[in-house]
Structures are given as structure tokens and as C-alpha cells.
């Protein structure tokens, strides 16, 4: 561990090797289970249980067995609606709040921010039962609202947007005000377009959280017609005989939207969290 000054080219090359070996092992462990999942989606139950690592020809049969008793289309539809509505509303509500806390900050608003941050510590489990009764009283069981409303405003997103608003040049706001732009217009025309990476990062996080949400939808979406993909695959193992090929296909299908969103927005994702304005 001694500080190495000006290593020779040979030692430099040698020093790099363990790093690549390490990365390769990590990558293998990381991708291995996913590869198994993809391959198994094309295999029969027997092949899955025999841990076959080769693609099979059972994809179509798995699809048929999956869709025979499960309404994948409906579950996919509800998952997408829930996740998209949550994401859109969360971005609007939290970014406007984060911006508001920073740009119009006052001691009282700072205090409110502090109180809202406390909510970060509230475990969902602690609010689940009363929240359930709240929605039940409001007659909102089985509704998209019941899934979406608790997920819209999160302290983390507000914090993220407040931080990015902090790096947003104040002069731009002043200049826009002098030009006679309304406050809301400044937000939508100046802030939003500049903060695309932050929005991308927030979108990825919110979409994934919403998509993966399991416990709350399981509690609040009582009618099987409203079930989401995670609920569908969780129930899949509750039957008397499990078709592993079909299960793995369902697991793969459930993962696809988040994987796609993730890859599309991957670059902006890291940039968004750095909070750097380009």
C-alpha cells in the first residue's frame, strides 16, 4: 500500500489486471442471475429445475401457460398506468415544491422543509393500516388514486429538486422577472428545460419505485382485476403446481419496463444526481 511514485509501464499494466479480474467477477455475479432468468423463460420447468443455462424452445408454451390463467395484459396495463401517473405527478409536485423551497425561501418555508424531511424517517409499515382505512373511508379502494397518491410527494425528490434549484443561477430568474415573466412561467420555461438531467434521475427513481411497489398495492388493490405485475408473479408461486418456465417469463416481462427506462435514461441519471447544470 506504499505510495507508488511514477510506476513503470510494466508495473502499471500489471497493476491493472486485478482490477479487471475483480470487475469481471462482479459483472458475472451481477449478470448471472439475469442471464438465468432470461434463459429460463425459454425453458421448460424441468430444464429450469435442472439449471439449464442454454436457451430452450419453450418460450411460446410458457407464454401460453402464463396467459391461460393470468391476465398479463391487464396486470401490465395497471402497472404501467400506476407507474406513469405516479411518475408524472411526482415530478410536477416535487419539482415545483423543491423549486419553491429554494427560490422563495423564507424562515417559515425552511422550517416546513425541515418538517417534511422528517417524513423520510416514517416507515411505510407504520402508516399502512391507517392509510388503508383512510382510503377505505374515502371509497378509493381498488382505484389508481389509492396507489398513486401516497407515492407522489416524497421528501427525497423534494430534496433533490431543491438542491438542483440551488445550483440554478438566480440571475436568470431576476432577468426573467424584469422581462415581465410570471413566476409560474419562469419555472416552466426556464427551470424545467435546464434541469432535464435532474428530471431524468427523478423519473427513473420514481418510476422504478412505483413499478416495484408491492406491499401497498397488495393491500389496497383487493379486486383481482386490478392486480399489478409484481402481485401477479408473487401469486404465481401460490398455486399447487408451479410452472417455472412460465414464472421466469413473467419475471422477465415484469423486469423489462424498468430495464428499458433505466437504459434509456442511464446517462442523465448519473448526471441528474450530480446536480450539475450544463
Amino acid at each position: 500500500m506504499a505510495p507508488a511514485k511514477a510506476p513503470t509501464r510494466a508495473t502499471a499494466r500489471w497493476r491493472g489486471v486485478p482490477k479487471y479480474v475483480f470487475l469481471s467477477i462482479v459483472a458475472l455475479l451481477s449478470i448471472g442471475p439475469l442471464y438465468f432468468m432470461v434463459v429460463s423463460a425459454t425453458n421448460t420447468t424441468q430444464d429450469v429445475l435442472a439449471s439449464s443455462m442454454l436457451p430452450g424452445t419453450n418460450l411460446l408454451a410458457n407464454w401460453q401457460s402464463l396467459t391461460e390463467f393470468q391476465d398479463v395484459g391487464s396486470a401490465m396495463y395497471h402497472s404501467i398506468i400506476n407507474a406513469v401517473v405516479t411518475t408524472v405527478l411526482a415530478l410536477v409536485v416535487c419539482s415545483i415544491a423543491g423549486y419553491g423551497f429554494e427560490v422563495y425561501h423564507s424562515p417559515n418555508k425552511d422550517r416546513l422543509m425541515w418538517v417534511l424531511m422528517l417524513a423520510m424517517m416514517i416507515p411505510f409499515a407504520a402508516t399502512m393500516i391507517p392509510l388503508f382505512q383512510l382510503f377505505a373511508d374515502a371509497g378509493l379502494i381498488n382505484s389508481t388514486w389509492a396507489v398513486v397518491l401516497p407515492a407522489i410527494a416524497t421528501p427525497l425528490l423534494i430534496l433533490l429538486f431543491r438542491q438542483s434549484a440551488r445550483s440554478f443561477p438566480h440571475e436568470i430568474i431576476e432577468a426573467a422577472r424584469l422581462d415581465g415573466l410570471k413566476e409560474v412561467a419562469i419555472f416552466f420555461r426556464m427551470f424545467v428545460p435546464t434541469m432535464k438531467p435532474t428530471y431524468a434521475a427523478a423519473a427513473v427513481i420514481t418510476f422504478m419505485t412505483a413499478w416495484n411497489n408491492f406491499l401497498w398495492p397488495k393491500v389496497i388493490l383487493v379486486n383481482p382485476d386490478y392486480q399489478t405485475m409484481p402481485m401477479l408473479i408473487s401469486n404465481f408461486t401460490g398455486g399447487y403446481v408451479v410452472d417455472y418456465g412460465a414464472l421466469m417469463l413473467a419475471v422477465l416481462i415484469t423486469s423489462l419496463p424498468t430495464i428499458i427506462i433505466f437504459f434509456v435514461l442511464q446517462r442523465s441519471f448519473v448526471a441528474g444526481f450530480t446536480g450539475v447544470v450544463k
Binding site: P3, S30, H105, L116, I122, I129, L134, L247
Partner: protein, 315 residues
């Protein structure tokens, strides 16, 4: 600028003074606009988090099964009942065990990986990044079921270990307490390490390159530089990830429910899973469930407070 500042904002902000003293009509309108910007989020958090939390407190003072709830006598009955609850103690131990073992390993691995990935000279960077990030995109239920399958007695992991001769007979991973807990921890590491790498990469990009140059000039090696230059600058982000991971682990449900079903003999069951069983699966005891949830809340709050304190101190 890092995206984390849980602490009070810097007081040297020059915008601060003017707004408060004399409010011009424009400034007042602006202030109102500001409030209007905050209200939707604040109202939602109030209604969806603080209000239910208050309700849970009331509920935790009630007893009864099903819908026949009544005030407990004494009011703290559910809390004192908890002291005699062996399953609760077990789930608390399990949850803390996951926390103590998994979170440090995960965050240290994530720091190391982020540091390697941040090296501009690294080859095939896109591939490594993708490979490390991709588990973070998999749904919790999905990966739990995949892990359940590959750790079955006749599953992939046993086949692989038998194949390379590391073990003589199949290991009953999910059937033994220690190995079942290990599988949960491995699952959590697999799913969440990459997620934290993303945050650390973001923080690394914020590090002032001149400080690294300066360290190099001073003759510090990469490891020394990492500990004395990089880590201190990443502290706010590390604090955030510690709080997020702690919070997530204490509240963990999906893995316990889908991967091990809490077994064998409840030895992998988490507190949230027990809470779910008490409230919805067994003879429903919502008052006791609410009391359990308050204990979870207090644990999370205390841990977060400690973490922030520790995080502050090393400034």
C-alpha cells in the same frame, strides 16, 4: 454542489434578509406564489404520512381482533405485550442482523466499485457500468423469485458448487437458518449495490479535481488519496445512502415474503413481514400491528438521528 443538505441551509445566504423585513407588494405576491408551490407536496406528505402516523398512534392503544376494536386497558397494553412476544424479538433480531451485516458490506463495495468505474482510463467502462447497474432495475419481487429458484436444493447454485467440487452434497440453502439468512443478504447485496454505485458515481463527479491533483503532488498513493481526499468530499452522499439503506432494510418486506416466506421457523422473517402477518394473515390484530409499526418508526428515527449526528461530527 452535492444534492444533500439535511442540515440547516447556510446562513450566509444573501437573499435571506431582504425578503423578511419590508415586503413590497411584488415580494408578498412572490412569497404567496412560493407557498402555492409548496402546498401540494406539503399537503400530500401531511395527509399521506403524518396523518396516518398519528392515527397509528391512536390505533396502537387499542386492542381486539378484527373490527371489534376497543381502547386497551392499560393504554400501553400492546407495547408491554410486545416485550413477551418471542416472534417479534426474533424478527427484530433478524432485521437488525441484515442491517448490521448487509449495509456496511454493500456501501463499502459500492464505494470501491464507484471509484474503479470513475477512473477515466478504465477500459470497457460502459459495459462494466451496465453490468453493475442492471440489478437495480429488477423488481424486488422478480429478483426474490429468481433467487428462490437458483437457491433451491436442486437449483443453479448447488449445481454450480457441486460441479466445481466445492461441496459434496447439495446445501439446503433456504431450509437452514444461517444459509437462509445468507441468501437474503446475498440477494440484498445483489439488488442494491449497483443502486448505491450510481449515487457514489454522481458524488465522485462533484469532487474538485484540483484536490486530487494536489494529493498526487503531495505524493499520496491512490488508496491514501481515496481515504483522505475522496471520502471526506463524498460524506453527504454517504450519509444519504446510509440513511436510505438503513430505512430500506428496517422496512424490508418483499424479500422476506417472497424469497424465504420468513422461514425456516420465522428465522428470516422481517419486522414488516410480521406486521403484515399480524394485521392481515392471522387473526387480525390491528392495534398490536400499529404498536409494532411504532417500534419500527422509533428504530428508524433513532438510527437516522445517530447517523446524522455521527455524520455531522466528523466535519
Amino acid at each position: 454542489m452535492t444534492p444533500v443538505a439535511l442540515e440547516k441551509r447556510p446562513s450566509r445566504d444573501k437573499r435571506k434578509g431582504g425578503a423578511k423585513r419590508e415586503l413590497s407588494p411584488a415580494a408578498r405576491r412572490r412569497s404567496l406564489t412560493g407557498w402555492a408551490f409548496l402546498i401540494p407536496a406539503a399537503a400530500l406528505i401531511g395527509l399521506m404520512m403524518f396523518w396516518p402516523m398519528f392515527q397509528a398512534l391512536l390505533l396502537s392503544f387499542q386492542t381486539g381482533r378484527g373490527s371489534a376494536l376497543d381502547w386497551a386497558d392499560p393504554l400501553t397494553f400492546n407495547y408491554s405485550r410486545m416485550l413477551e412476544d418471542d416472534i417479534f424479538r426474533l424478527t427484530l433480531t433478524n432485521t437488525l442482523l441484515y442491517l448490521v451485516i448487509q449495509v456496511p458490506i454493500m456501501l463499502i463495495s459500492a464505494l470501491v466499485l464507484a471509484n474503479i468505474l470513475n477512473n477515466p482510463k478504465l477500459r470497457w467502462k460502459g459495459f462494466w457500468r451496465t453490468a453493475i447497474f442492471v440489478p437495480a432495475a429488477i423488481s424486488l419481487v422478480s429478483y426474490s423469485l429468481v433467487f428462490r429458484t437458483i437457491f433451491a436444493t436442486d437449483g443453479l447454485v448447488n449445481d454450480a458448487l457441486l460441479g466445481i467440487g466445492l461441496i459434496d452434497g447439495p446445501i439446503n440453502w433456504l431450509g437452514e437458518t444461517d444459509t437462509a439468512r445468507l441468501v437474503i443478504i446475498l440477494g440484498l447485496l445483489w439488488r442494491w449495490t449497483g443502486f448505491n454505485v450510481i449515487f457514489y458515481l454522481a458524488a465522485l463527479q462533484n469532487i474538485d479535481p484540483t484536490t486530487l491533483e494536489a494529493a498526487k503532488m503531495d505524493g499520496a498513493g491512490p488508496i491514501r488519496t481515496f481515504f483522505s481526499v475522496t471520502i471526506p468530499q463524498m460524506k453527504p452522499m454517504i450519509l444519504l445512502t446510509v440513511i436510505m439503506s438503513t430505512n430500506g432494510t428496517i422496512q424490508m418486506f418483499d424479500e422476506s415474503y417472497n424469497l424465504t416466506r420468513g422461514g425456516p421457523a420465522n428465522t428470516t422473517m422481517t419486522m414488516s413481514h410480521y406486521l403484515f402477518d399480524v394485521s392481515f394473515q392471522n387473526n387480525p390484530n390491528f392495534g398490536y400491528g400499529a404498536a409494532l409499526s411504532y417500534v419500527i418508526l422509533i428504530i428508524v428515527a433513532v438510527l437516522a438521528a445517530i447517523q446524522m449526528k455521527v455524520g455531522d461530527k466528523r466535519d
